[in-house]
Symmetry: C2
Subunit: 204 residues, 2 copies
């Protein structure tokens, strides 16, 4: 009995962790012991649809890895208009990087678009991980490098493409999200109003 309970909680085959372990295995190799050390630092959390995981002004204490559902990160400007910075479907990470790094109040809101399950890695545990398994320093460097490339590409797209081209890019890059996301969220992500987005789609 006891043994089964232990197994369930820590073996690397225990369902909630297979996604994140595969995600990591793309970049670094972990022994089974290291996998256990790692997964023991994670805390599962459920976030109901429309519930906020993080609000403007909060200090971000965790990174969240999405296993099911979908999160969106957005800011609100001085006119009350929302601007979507990122979506996090399963297999993606989400955090307010500015706040997580500086431990100062952030500007990001993170809301669940549907009932969502995440694995939380606290900043403290992340630092422990860097100490105990230095390979994770490499892993997160690569992760952040890829985010930077994507962010810069989006900057370039914003400066050099029309809304229509940006939409086409979005469709290519996130083919699955097009069907699950409300149009107004995609509109916000590519930087146009829902009205203009609607007109844009009806041309073609």
């Amino acid at each position: 009995m006891l043994h089964i309970a232990y197994t369930k909680k820590t073996t690397f085959l225990y369902m909630p962790f297979t996604l994140i372990l595969n995600n990591i295995a793309k970049h670094i190799h972990l022994s089974k012991e290291e996998q256990v050390v790692f997964t023991d630092l994670l805390k599962p959390q459920a976030i109901k649809r429309k519930q906020f995981w993080l609000s403007d002004g909060d200090i971000c204490k965790h990174s969240a890895f999405v296993t099911t559902g979908c999160l969106r990160g957005f800011t609100v400007d001085k006119n009350g208009i929302e601007h979507v910075l990122s979506f996090a479907p399963p297999d993606w990470w989400m955090a307010d990087m500015y706040s997580l790094i500086s431990q100062k109040p952030g500007i990001l809101n993170v809301e669940a678009l549907e009932d969502t399950q995440v694995l939380l890695l606290s900043k403290t545990n992340q630092e422990k991980l860097y100490q105990q398994i230095p390979k994770f320093e490499h892993f997160f460097r690569v992760l952040v490098e890829n985010s930077l490339v994507a962010s810069q590409q989006r900057l370039i797209d914003g400066l050099s493409l029309t809304a229509e081209d940006r939409y086409n890019n979005f469709c290519k890059r996130y083919p699955t999200l097009i069907y699950t996301l409300p149009q107004k969220q995609i509109a916000s992500y590519i930087g146009v109003t829902p009205e203009f987005f609607s007109r844009m789609r009806s041309r073609k």
Copy 2:
């Protein structure tokens, strides 16, 4: 004789390296031996005003750390219009991250705005560094994290601020660059035409 030559090349006080060693010291501590290992992996290069360090389509093989002068990184869109992604005054790093990571042809052009001195760290040497002094993995992770935060903030600004507010932000963030940079480069960075930028400044 021989001893003097050796000293000049490797001691950490040798002028060209003090800037980069201080830059690094902000995040990690290096012993004198480690400093020598590191600086021996760097290759100084001079880039004349208007000369290109990197062109659209090149594979980016190095990171460049600017010690004097200034670089600008930009892309060219299908209408031939240039869009400035970043400036690198002294104490800043420059690279085409996408190309550097993937070793595929990049999209960035990097040109010297004035006669510029850089220290080059090749991708190969950077990987050696990660092997030999794992602290560097930490250093570059932090560096990239900060770039990501800046890039995301610029994305948000582009979506939520007027050109005028973006200009004001630019002035606050890069007070020194305003006086050295041609207006059209700043215009391009904040995402407007030189004509509109000129009008914007004459109001006020």
